[in-house]
């Protein structure tokens, strides 16, 4: 087990290296853009060249990459191309908390709702309730989150002149209650589709075990239906459930770009979005790689959780 964790952690830097190299090549394939963006669109080739030199963008790509990577190992992700050229790591540190908070809120809500809905749906399979829940979960994964978010901002404003949009952002450390009052809305919007996914997986994997021999035995020895459902059926779905929740957490982190943009929350998603639009490549590289790192760590965590849930799995 420990050997496995160590092996996975050794694989991590390799993945990060390859991913960052790919991303770097994608972003830097046309170096002129970045300098042009800083100059501000004026096509003054002299000034552009000057800026390119200042930013080190006139060096060959491999020199630039290894320069970046060498610093990245020490936690220095370089400086934004845009003035005032703030440190990338600093900007990420400022904002990552908000994105993680939305992610955790969303995954908590969707696990609770999704598991409950999934269990009810499976136990009452083929009833009108199951039918209704199934249609709602398909609808849940079909309706785009930016539309629900838009409706959430628009309709209450028309009906009750109320908007979930806070006049100004308050961080968790400043005022936790006020902060949760802001963060709950993007989390609710994002949890519609993830709870629907979770519910669908719980339902289908429970249906697989609901008719198996050990469940029949459990019933035969007179266990309460509740105990049978939770301990004998639901427990068997945990593996699939953990996989889905892990994958959903990745999706939610990525989806934060939309939620943060709509609800004006200063998180990592919004930072990345702004960086992409302003062609601030160094910043994009840093933020996307931090997202990738979170995603990879979640995957490793999921694999380790497997062994906890199912002792039969050994690595």
């Amino acid at each position: 087990m420990r050997a496995y964790v160590i092996r996975r952690l050794i694989g991590l830097p390799v993945m990060l290296f390859l991913m960052s190299l790919l991303l770097f090549l994608l972003l830097f394939i046309r170096p002129g853009n970045a300098a042009l963006a800083v100059v501000g669109g004026f096509n003054e080739s002299a000034r552009e060249k000057d800026f390119e030199h200042q930013l080190g963008l006139d060096r060959p790509w491999y020199v630039q990459y290894f320069d970046w990577a060498g610093h990245a190992i020490t936690g220095d992700l370089g400086k934004s191309l845009k003035p005032p050229r703030k440190s990338v790591a600093g900007q990420i540190r400022e904002r990552i908390g908000n994105t993680v908070e939305i992610g955790l809120l969303t995954i908590s809500i969707s696990s609770l709702v999704g598991i409950a809905v999934g269990i009810i749906s499976a136990v009452k399979r083929n009833s009108w309730l199951d039918y209704l829940l199934r249609v709602s979960t398909i609808a849940g994964i079909s309706i785009p989150n930016f539309w629900t978010a838009t409706l959430l901002l628009t309709l209450p404003a028309i009906w009750w002149s109320w908007t979930p949009l806070a006049p100004e952002f308050v961080s968790f450390t400043e005022n936790p209650i006020k902060n949760l009052g802001i963060m709950i809305w993007p989390a609710l919007v994002l949890s519609i589709s993830s709870s629907a996914y979770v519910a669908r997986i719980v339902r289908s994997s429970m249906l697989e075990t609901l008719y198996s021999d050990h469940v029949r035995t459990a019933r035969a020895k007179g266990l309460q239906e509740r105990v049978v459902v939770i301990q004998h059926v639901f427990r068997n779905s945990l593996i699939t459930l953990i996989t889905v929740i892990g994958l959903q957490l990745g999706t939610i982190l990525g989806g934060s770009v939309i939620a943060e943009q709509i609800f004006a929350i200063p998180g990592l998603g919004l930072l990345t979005y702004d960086a992409v639009l302003t062609l601030d490549y160094i910043l994009v590289l840093g933020t996307v790689m931090v997202f990738a790192l979170m995603f990879l760590l979640i995957n490793i965590g999921v694999d380790i959780l497997y062994t906890v849930v199912d002792p039969r799995i050994r690595y």
Binding site: L23, I138, P144, F146, W147, T154, T240
Partner: protein
Amino acid sequence: MTAQAASPTLDFEYVMSPRRRFAWLTRFIRQQPLGVIGVVFIAIVVFCAIAAPLITNKDPQGFSSDVLQSPSGDHWFGTTREGKDVFARVVYGARVSLRVGLATVVVSIIGGTALALLAGFLRGVVDILLSRAAEILIAFPAILFALTLRTSIGKDVPELGWLGLSKGEVLVILAICVLYTPLIFRIMRGSVLEQRGAQYVEAARVVGASEFRIMLRHILPNLAGLMIIVTSTSLPAAILTESSLSFLGVGVEPGTPSWGADLSGKAREFFVRAPWIAIFPGLALSVSVLAFNLVGDSLRDTLDPRLRGRL
């Protein structure tokens, strides 16, 4: 080899009468009423995309002085702040969604399957390299990666006019394909490896079929079911991704009627005054994606109940 020695699956295939061949279709209609509803809605969306000029005589891009009109007999879904007819934009918007969705799915299914066959047959270094590459691409957060790709691929992509695709559409399709091909590759590779060990492949090999022939004539047809299922799940997902990118302002060309783009940008300031601008494009998008998902779900249940919930 005598007839008796043939495997039961082969028997089934030859004995099946033409009427039985469509048994799954009648079963589908009887057992999956939701799937049928989905098919009806898809038909409506496809009809809108093809026959848009017949459905509405208004120009989706045409400015007019009737700004922010609420829905009326003249403007069924109202007008935007530029006086564009929302109904016309919703109807024409079906075109972008379907074109991008279909193109993405066709390219990534063909690409993913071809690579999976290569990996499954050449194995060794090729398999390792392809699997690794897929792993790397999958580990990027999807929307963010698409956003980065869409903006960095550059503007020098060809305009595929003969396919009716504009430059913006080609860029979006490319970006989404980079996301979907590795995912599809991974699913298909698993299936190729599974099929490779099957008895019928061994039998074909014994008879002297070349590896290439086994791949194309024996394994590929057996992937068809999975391909249909993957198509039905990735098509709605691709439509959602296109609209998300358009919503973020990096989708198709500005001004093009696209359900995602119509919900973004300057228009947002007018939603409270004119909610119909926000409601109808989003509704059209949701209903279309829902219809595809309903059909996909039902198809999966009908074709391969074992896959329920796994994709």
